[in-house]
């Protein structure tokens, strides 16, 4: 099956800093989603982005499908951005997501 690798595994930032999270995948995809998992376990949808670039406030994402990677940018980070960020992909159009192992982000005041 498709492999999904996320980097870095852990990231510690000071409030106000910017960061880039990376997701590499091993096959072509028809779905790629970025999620933020809060401390209570809720997966919050950030982006549905199988290709192209999207922006939502301080967050933006880019997927380069031909090179099989996606990037999530967080600007002017806040303590509420802390948590685990997951990239998840579907390569067969069956709506069964394969998740990466996540990036654990800690934003310090």
């Amino acid at each position: 099956g498709i492999q999904v690798e996320q980097s870095p595994p852990d990231l510690i930032l000071q409030e106000g800093a910017n960061s880039t999270l990376r997701c590499n995948f091993s096959d072509s995809v028809n779905n790629l989603q970025w999620f933020h998992q809060n401390p209570w376990g809720q997966l919050i949808n950030l982006f549905y982005i199988p290709s192209g670039t999207k922006q939502n406030g301080r967050l933006s994402a880019t997927t380069v499908a031909t090179e099989r990677y996606s990037l999530l940018y967080i600007s002017s980070s806040q303590t509420t951005d802390s948590g685990v960020y997951f990239c998840a992909v579907d390569s067969r159009g069956r709506r069964a997501l394969t998740f990466g192992s996540g990036t654990r982000l800690q934003v310090q005041p």
């Binding site: 028809n30 159009g93 709506r95 997501l97 998740f99």
Partner: protein
């Protein structure tokens, strides 16, 4: 518009018991998928229901079974619980490609 809901929030069972978890999809969504998330890992796909049938399945044993009702809500059943079944169980619903997740049920097996 209500999002995906799951019940119960937390559950404690002992080895060998059986458990049923419930999920109501987002309004208008017809497909429900279930995922298991062990501590410190990403969620893993268990199975998916569409039109009241299991459409596809991940690498999970037959102890894991499910059901979808005519109103698109779904149940996940786990028989003969093992300690290793302790995890957060997440339900996701979709109409097209994008999936939306519920808050999860945290199952502890003692």
């Amino acid at each position: 518009d209500a999002g995906v809901t799951q019940s119960p929030t937390h559950l404690i069972k002992t080895r060998g018991q059986q458990v049923t978890l419930r999920c109501s999809p987002k309004s208008g969504h017809d497909t429900v998928s279930w995922y298991q998330q062990a501590l410190g890992q990403g969620p893993q796909f268990i199975f998916q229901y569409y039109e009241e049938e299991e459409r596809q399945r991940g690498n999970f044993p037959d102890r894991f079974s499910g059901h979808q009702f005519p109103n698109y809500s779904s149940e996940l059943n786990v028989n003969a619980l093992l300690l290793g079944d302790s995890a957060l169980y997440l339900c996701a619903s979709s109409l097209v490609e994008e999936q939306f997740f519920g808050p999860g049920t945290r199952l502890t097996v003692l």
